[in-house]
Symmetry: C2
Subunit: 308 residues, 2 copies
């Protein structure tokens, strides 16, 4: 049931809940969505807490956009067609200016990811945004973590480590040039969930995951689910010029291997399958277990978000 | 992606995610659910914050059960068949004992409401539980708020005001007998979402809503959505012996009219449609707007949860 704050969001953006699959949007006890014949439902939930997953002083527009992007990224990693989403918003106080800005970020993400906002609720408490995404998959297809086979190529989209580099900048740990800083902050605040890539990989990739916890951790999930070893060549990792401008090659490598929040896809391609545009090969699938990047490194085991 | 705490929940209850409609449960980027041919998806999200929607010192079992019941109640109000749910849990700290107890409440609700837990995440922060329910509806049927017609009967299930009476007891505002106190606390901590009643009303009731904000407020939502007046006869409201044991008839009436959290259904039946068992007529639908209970009352406008 909408409470005043949610009504407020809808006051700003009356068409936020409209979409091809939406039979009934916000305003009743449930929303009603239609799948096409022969489709299944894919769903995931992703929560962001202020001061944990983003700096508490982030722009509300960015908080709104980024929360949706992170959840949409899970649909991308399954190869699902976006249907809609619900948002559970916990707010410390009613602040119309903040809500207006937050709603603008939400609206941008609704349009970008074709995810109409069909329901939600607002509760009083420390700032937390929980986004539940709903997507559609063909009855007999999905990009799972468990399909990687020995001999497949390991690939990623985009560039890696940018969000971690942005966080380090926000925490005053280094000072990129203004242009590079702007690029990195954009990567952190406005990540691009790879929904179109996910759809393109359906039926072609043998396994996929989105990189939210860092390449090593997420490739490790594919390795574990598929019962294989993921071999990664660090010199093949795609890096942005902005990240590459850091003085320490070791730091850059650490960000690229363990930095999360990039929301790129890591996927496996059987031999002979063409690489999609904007993606590169970074290694191969071998017999064994775990992730092997050929380095005796002593990185933190998992990605630390803004403040875990 | 499951984080350690969520894995812990699954360690206790390995079959929490199994269900007829579940193709893929927790462990990949999304869960995958199947609807039957000719069905649509019904979805809703419901968030509970400690100290707002329940006393912070509630038993973790009750917190888990009640959060699911409140969300499942939205499926009941639509007449939807339960498919599954996801849970976004924000926790102040990792406490294995607390999580074990919470998981037992979740497991009880999974079984009671046939809602396998197919996904979720756990984040660090003040205790908040956000439950997203997924259900199925026939392509051409749903219990909406907008279908009430002049001449319909207004009906409710169960008894009203019990949860509000329980809260008043928890806040030391009155002292029922031990038996009555136990009954009322059970009604507050273990509400029964009326999923079977919702399914039975599909195709028979003209409108329905679950009573989460209080009868007057929720009947008002039907009135607004349907463009009618809901006429309610206070002397027909179903009351439990426990609530009726309060010394003040006016207080009892206030609880029954404005108390939320009972999760009973309020619905409208066209003339000639048989009343389901356990339900009573409390009034009728007339031309006009709003809710008329024939009283010049000065109650608080909306239900106050534990602490709004």
């Amino acid at each position: 049931m909408p409470v005043p704050e949610f009504s407020l969001i809808y006051r700003y953006f009356s068409d936020l809940g409209r979409g091809d699959a939406v039979d009934l949007s916000v305003g009743d006890d449930c929303a009603i969505l239609r799948l096409a014949e022969g489709e299944r439902l894919a769903t995931s939930v992703d929560t962001m807490v202020a001061g944990v997953h983003f700096p508490a002083d982030s722009f509300p527009e960015d908080i709104g956009f980024r929360a949706v992007a992170a959840a949409a990224s899970d649909l991308a990693a399954m190869g699902a067609r976006p249907l809609g989403m619900t948002v559970a918003l916990t707010l410390p106080e009613t602040d119309e200016l903040w809500l207006n800005a937050f709603s603008q970020g939400l609206a941008a993400a609704v349009a970008e990811y074709r995810l109409p906002l069909v329901g939600g609720d607002t509760t009083r408490g420390p700032l937390t945004i929980s986004v539940q995404v709903l997507g559609a998959l063909p009855m007999d297809q999905a990009l799972l973590r468990s399909g990687a086979r020995v001999g497949d190529e390991v690939c990623v989209s985009g560039t890696l480590g940018d969000a971690a580099g942005a966080l380090a900048f926000l925490q005053d740990k280094w000072q990129p040039t203004p242009e590079h800083a702007e690029y990195l902050l954009q990567r952190f605040n406005r990540p691009r969930a790879r929904l179109d890539l996910g759809l393109a990989l359906l039926g072609r990739a043998s396994a996929a995951i989105d990189i939210s916890d860092g390449l090593l951790a997420d490739a490790g999930h594919i390795a574990a689910a598929s019962g294989v070893k993921m071999c990664i060549q660090p010199d093949l990792l795609p890096l942005s010029p902005a990240l590459s401008s850091h003085h320490s090659p070791e730091q850059i490598l650490q960000w690229a291997l363990t930095g999360g929040d990039d929301y790129e896809l890591c996927f496996c391609l059987p031999a002979g399958v063409q690489m999609p545009a904007g993606c590169v090969r970074i290694g191969w699938v071998a017999a064994g277990a775990g992730v092997d990047c050929g380095l005796a490194i002593d990185f933190p085991p998992g990605y630390q978000h803004f403040s875990d």
